[in-house]
């Protein structure tokens, strides 16, 4: 069963609604004990890195996820701040520790000129480079996804592959390392292409 982690720090209603719409079976959990038996894990994220990171530790999900992801190799998809939490550190609200599954840090988007506004808010296309990502199957390569974030992940991880989004600089829009997946965009707010992305995570990953 797909388990959705509710850290109780932001509204995850949109993600739940999207999964209902595509007919996915899931269990919403706020107790880290209930992570046992998950076949897949979804970590949505709304709010700031530091608050979510603190809550990960306080709720026991930090330790539970280390087991599920590193030992049991259960596929996980992090969305927005949920993706950022897969990194080692984040700097939003001061430096705090993430889950550390990806050798990466989460830093503020720099405004290099007046045309680059922060938050990076709105619809943007994704550059897949030379990669083919099955999780995007069924969507056009020039399809747009909805982004809203002021911080972005910078990865040094040699084992991770990424797709990027352009806003002043190339930023990570999507990252994959084995059974670990992260989307900086909000699939649950990206109309049909977003729903297809979620469907693919459930069916293929």
């Amino acid at each position: 069963m797909l388990k959705i982690i509710d850290l109780k720090v932001g509204n995850i209603g949109s993600v739940v609604k999207a999964l209902d719409y595509i007919g996915a079976e899931y269990e919403l959990i706020d107790d880290s004990q209930h992570l046992i038996g998950a076949s897949k894990i979804l970590l949505p994220g709304v709010g700031s890195f530091d608050v979510a990171a603190k809550q990960l530790i306080a709720s026991g999900f930090y330790d539970a996820l280390q087991r599920s992801i590193l030992e049991e190799k259960i596929p996980i998809l992090g969305i927005c701040v949920g993706m950022q939490l897969l990194a080692k550190f984040g700097y939003e609200g001061g430096k705090s520790k993430g889950l550390g599954f990806i050798d990466a840090e989460v830093v503020k988007i720099e405004c290099k000129d007046d045309t680059i506004r922060v938050p990076h808010m709105g619809w943007n296309s994704i550059d897949y480079g030379l990669n083919t990502f099955e999780i995007f199957d069924g969507n056009d390569n020039d399809g747009c996804y909805y982004f809203v974030h002021s911080y972005h992940m910078v990865s040094e991880d040699q084992d991770a592959v990424t797709a990027t989004v352009q806003h002043g600089a190339d930023m990570i829009a999507y990252i994959n390392k084995g059974h670990i997946y992260g989307a900086q965009f909000h699939p649950e707010k990206s109309q049909a292409v977003g729903l297809q992305f979620l469907r693919n995570f459930i069916v293929q990953c």
Binding site: R117, P119, W123, V148
Partner: protein, 248 residues
């Protein structure tokens, strides 16, 4: 590259959809659910729903309407009207809103912006500004009164400092006129602010939408031409794209 957003704006009086002219003359347009469903199926970039009587009537936006709209809405939904407390915001977000638009409460107490942004994140907090032009000077307008002693540029600065995530700028003079946008106002606010800016008021055609997009604003709020003509959000996006401005 980030696309310019074409955003239908739906005004409510608590029960029905309506459209104003210069924030005064009103025309009733029926059930919000029907109107909003139409936009939903048209695959628009985003929706903004504002209850323009909530503040004056000292009530909140109808939660059932929001929940019903949000049910199969897989795009960002901004809701505004009568928001005064962090609890009001929490309530709307739990009903399916992604962002909230604050206006009167922010003018009364600017630190409310900060309180809301630290609680829910900047990305969630839109500050809406109504503007009238008096003797060639843009003034802030709120529920029928011009706010003296607070200049537009001061207010924009303060909104940013308090941690808002987006600015929604409404031209009262152009509202509902379909006579063309106030390009000068759009340029002014866009250049003064580092935040994403959504311009609203008077957009008369897809080509007029393109003119507004050229000012650097991030989004175009459009209401009347979608309600009263055959022009669709897609025609506006297409016009932007044809003129070299990326839209979705």
């Amino acid at each position: 590259m980030l696309r310019k957003r074409i955003i239908p704006i739906v005004l409510l009086d608590g029960f029905s959809v309506l459209k104003t002219i210069n924030f005064k003359t009103r025309r009733n347009l029926g059930s919000p659910i029907t109107v909003l469903r139409t936009y939903n199926t048209r695959n628009v970039d985003e929706l903004i729903l504002l209850d323009i009587d909530a503040t004056i009537q000292n009530r909140a936006v109808d939660k059932f309407t929001i929940a019903d709209v949000a049910k199969d809405c897989f795009m960002p939904l901004t809701v505004g009207g009568g928001i005064k407390t962090v609890e009001d915001i929490r309530d709307l977000l739990s009903k399916g809103a992604d962002k909230v638009s604050i206006n009167s409460a922010a003018i009364k107490n600017p630190t409310f912006i900060n309180e809301a942004a630290s609680q829910f994140g900047s990305q969630c907090i839109v500050v809406s500004i109504d503007v009238v032009k008096v003797d060639e000077i843009y003034k802030i307008y709120n529920n029928g009164t011009i706010i003296e002693g607070l200049s537009l540029s001061e207010w924009i600065n303060q909104i940013e400092l308090e941690g808002a995530g987006e600015i929604l700028i409404n031209s009262v003079d152009k509202d509902g006129t379909m006579a063309g946008a106030d390009i000068e106002l759009a340029s002014l606010v866009s250049s003064k602010s580092k935040l994403p800016v959504i311009y609203v008021g008077g957009i008369s055609s897809p080509s007029n939408a393109t003119e507004v997009a050229k000012t650097g604003v991030s989004g175009l709020g459009i209401s009347s031409i979608f309600h009263f003509s055959n022009i669709t959000p897609k025609e506006c996006s297409d016009n932007l794209n044809e003129n070299g401005i990326l839209a979705r």
